[in-house]
Symmetry: C2
Subunit: 249 residues, 2 copies
DNA sequence: TCCTTACTGCGTATCATGTACGCTAAATAG
DNA sequence: CTATTTAGCGTACATGATACGCAGTAAGGA
């Protein structure tokens, strides 16, 4: 009822604004606006999302949007929750490690559909319905570990950080690659030209070994790196659980 | 000589543009421009860096900058290399694990001085002189492991990903906290209001345990989280080294 | 010495963008 | 029927990136 105590963007994400009793019927809904903005960001780029473009796509004037959204930043926050959608339900009876791997792969898949997601600043703890569902899913699978609640939150936050960091870096690099593949192709020869072996001995050794001379497939490398790093992190979590709960069953 | 084969921004970072022989003496240098831009970003924000602001700070016109920099994006790339400065030299004779911890702390310290760094997109592999020096420093400390060159690169890239991801998340959260501390203070009560225990059972349990009701010091928590995650990652690297090289001396 | 040439700084103009403000018309409450 | 609330929208403005071309300057060549 009194959602006055809730932050405005949170109330918006949960669609808690009570329907107005008077005035003309809205010809626009928040959902349509968010969907249109997401469609533009998917097709082009986060930078391509301007209030004018969104409004145009909906056949409305730019300023009409401001009846439903306080600012562009608020739109971004709502977009970021909407883009994640709901996680696949966790398979029954999986152990925590399989569960978190499943979860991380799910995040990767979800964000692959909306590459701009990783560009948005994280403004706070997960407060929208979809974000919260993901959070709940990861916390739920840790229930079996017997970790204290606070430690579970720490582990999940760390996992979120790792996953988002990896994704962001991969997408940034991929974007750079698309912008000019030459820079990658020629990275080896660039280094040979510019990196004095006396100043950068370790880099020079690597260059001599030819590491930068052939370029693999991006998608494959990313998938491999992602899993590799994820398993590293989960190794650490396992050790942490042992330390806190004792080497359990 | 023929730096025509180098990408323009790389040439700029290494200051390889040959000095012009004719025409008026430049009253502006690339270094001054980059320094001014960094000063603005440090004092305010990356968003506060506009060509006009930078020029004003230097007592020049906006368009004069374009004689030294091809675009704002190029300025950002050059800024990002300049901001890192050189790493502290690695202490003599440290083992790889101590060395990488030292290295990661150094990155954290460097970026703390320029919080906007984590907001910049990574457009490619590290190609500027300072970035390369950091890269070299981390690679160098892995020489003792006997890993193949390519694996060293993988480990260092993973480390960079982790460190940057953690830093970015921490700074984003800190910015959100400054913008409105209330949202954090009231996060527990927000969740109680909005998160139906039947839909979000694990979150509800955590909320009931009071995890979100008290807020710790940001700086402390970050430092702890950073070291915790870093040691997890290094645990994984140790296992990886054992796997590839055999359980070495 | 003077002209040519390459170059710098800068004024102007253009276009995109976020958003404040206020008007008009619609829908409902009384 | 009237007052109130609210939606859409036109206008205006501030800010920002950057294309373009001019004017003046310094070096090279005559």
């Amino acid at each position: 009822m009194e959602d006055n105590e809730l932050p405005a963007d949170v109330a918006a994400m949960w669609r808690l604004r009570e329907a107005p009793r008077r005035g003309p019927k809205p010809s626009l809904t928040l959902d349509e606006i968010v969907r249109a903005a997401i469609a533009i960001a998917d097709a082009e780029d986060l930078a391509a999302v301007s209030m004018a473009r969104v409004a145009e796509r909906l056949g409305n004037s730019t300023m009409a949007l401001y009846r439903h959204v306080k600012s562009k930043d608020e739109l971004f926050v709502i977009m970021s929750d909407a883009a994640l959608e709901r996680p696949e339900p966790m398979p029954e009876g999986v152990d925590w490690r399989t569960g978190l791997t499943f979860w991380a792969d799910g995040v990767l898949t979800a964000i692959r559909r909306h590459k701009w997601y990783a560009k948005l600043p994280i403004s706070g703890p997960p407060a929208g319905p979809n974000n919260l569902a993901w959070f709940d899913s990861a916390l739920g699978v840790l229930a079996q570990t017997g970790l204290p609640e606070e430690a579970k939150v720490g582990v999940v936050m760390g996992l979120i950080t790792y996953v988002q960091g990896e994704i962001r870096m991969a997408f940034d690099l991929a974007a750079g690659y698309i912008d000019n593949p030459d820079a990658f192709q020629r990275f080896g020869s660039t280094l040979r030209r510019v990196a004095d072996p006396r100043v950068y001995p370790a880099v020079a050794r690597t260059v001599e070994a030819g590491v930068f001379d052939e370029v693999g497939s991006f998608e494959e490398d990313n998938e491999t790196d992602f899993d590799f790093g994820l398993q590293l992190y989960l190794d650490g979590v396992a050790a942490f659980i042992d330390r806190v709960c004792g080497p359990a069953e």
